[in-house]
């Protein structure tokens, strides 16, 4: 019985320890940002591996998500004779929720896991301590460029996801199901507000990009330097990211759209 309580204490202390360590780690990242900005080539290389390589995945997923919403929405809306609202339904669900959330989940699986595995393997093969020996700060050289690349790429990916999804919905709704083309766009323009919907969706995607890359680089940097440790850290990145994205999305939605 006593062992049980002891275990509980050890586990919860461990959680706070990791939270504290990751916060301090984040402060270190912030402090090293000026050093990265004067060397933008590091950042460009990371935007390539984090953003450009995720691009095709985001493009195809966005297209199909938009097409599925249009198809499903059409059958429900046509019961009420409200097919004209299909564009609003596709655009609102993509711009407000699915664009930021689904692209962040895909981003965590595609780029977050790669970041953790890369940094974790660098730690395992002692490249990070080698850098410290040469008086090169591994956070400024390795971690911060990756963090900033994620922060920049995520809003761009989410925006592309929403845009291509709306085009996919257009293709299904207007092309296949025969909805009026003018109604698709004009209803959308009448109902989607720039400040309320598009800017809030963008804020969401910036926050998700921050959370996912923070988790990914921290898990990699904090990984136990064995092959098993890196594999566990990679799994944790994906699981924790998905959990945090969905939780924070609920909170943000309640804050942003709660009064509508």
């Amino acid at each position: 019985m006593l062992n049980y309580f002891q275990q509980l204490g050890v586990t919860s202390l461990g959680i706070f320890e990791r939270l504290g360590r990751s916060s301090l780690f984040f402060v270190n990242i912030l402090l090293s940002i000026p050093g990265v900005i004067v060397r933008p080539r590091l950042l460009i290389a990371q935007i390539y591996s984090v953003g450009v390589l995720s691009f095709s995945l985001i493009l195809i997923s966005g297209l199909f998500v938009g097409m599925v919403i249009a198809l499903q929405g059409f059958y429900t809306l046509s019961d009420f004779g409200a097919e004209g609202m299909l564009g609003v339904m596709v655009a609102a669900s993509l711009v407000r929720e699915l664009g930021p959330v689904v692209s962040a989940l895909l981003f965590a699986g595609r780029a977050g896991s790669a970041l953790t595995a890369e940094i974790g393997l660098m730690k395992t093969t002692e490249q990070l301590s080698g850098m410290e020996m040469m008086a090169v700060d591994p956070i400024a050289r390795i971690v911060t460029p990756r963090f900033l690349a994620g922060l920049i790429s995520m809003p761009l990916l989410a925006t592309v996801f929403s845009a291509i999804g709306i085009l996919g919905g257009y293709f299904i709704g207007v092309g296949l199901l025969g909805i009026d083309e003018g109604g698709y766009w004009s209803q959308m323009q009448a109902k989607i507000d720039f400040n309320q919907d598009i800017i809030n969706g963008l804020i969401k995607s910036v926050i998700f990009g921050w959370l996912v890359t923070w988790i990914a680089v921290f898990e990699g940097y904090d990984a136990i330097p064995t092959s098993e440790g890196v594999s566990r850290a990679t799994t944790r990145t994906v699981v924790h990211s998905a959990f945090v994205i969905l939780l924070v999305d609920f909170i943000l939605t309640a804050l942003m759209f709660g009064d509508i």
């Binding site: 080539r41 590091l42 460009i44 290389a45 935007i47 390539y48 953003g51 450009v52 691009f55 009420f80 409200a82 655009a91 711009v95 790429s153 809003p155 761009l156 990916l157 925006t159 592309v160 929403s162 845009a163 291509i164 709306i166 766009w185 959308m188 323009q189 009448a190 989607i192 507000d193 720039f194 919907d197 598009i198 963008l202």
Partner: protein
């Protein structure tokens, strides 16, 4: 670390496509292209009952959207609803005795304010009040009246 030129070009493409998508969302999907910011002028109207009229609902004349509702408040003295609407600046020749009524788009559609032009020479300006208004039709009240009338026959 050497970065090849092609990677830089691809990153450039990626960022450019991101901005094109943002431009598409703002111009084609949202109301940014039709909303001209704070231009236009505000007029108010008093209604006995606004039904389920909401802020940001359209204000239409002859079926053409000419503005949007900016706020709906209750007058604490007369217990009437004060609806403030922003009319686009290009529609600056609306007669002073324009009549406002709350209409419903379709049977189940959302409610909007319909304007009917009057005949006066004087035009509406910032801060004008529309004198002639017609409240929203509340379906339950109409059904109630109908049943009551049938009962008494």
């Amino acid at each position: 670390m050497h970065i090849s030129r092609s990677i830089e070009i691809l990153v450039g493409f990626f960022v450019a496509i991101g901005f094109v998508a943002m431009f598409f969302l703002s111009m084609e999907v949202s109301n940014l292209s039709s909303a001209n910011g704070d231009e236009g002028y505000d007029v108010t109207a008093r209604f006995e009952n606004v039904g389920s009229l909401k802020a940001r609902a359209p204000v239409a004349m002859a079926g053409v959207t000419v503005g949007r509702i900016t706020s709906i408040k209750l007058d604490p003295d007369s217990f009437e609803a004060i609806v403030t609407m922003n009319i686009e600046a290009q529609y600056d020749k609306l007669p002073f005795d324009t009549n406002a009524s709350i209409l419903t788009a379709g049977l189940l559609g959302e409610q909007y304010v319909g304007l009917e032009p009057g005949g006066e020479e004087e035009v509406l300006m910032e801060g004008s009040e529309l004198e002639l208004t017609q409240s929203a039709l509340v379906l339950e009240q109409i059904i109630g009246q109908f049943l009551f009338n049938n009962e008494s026959e």
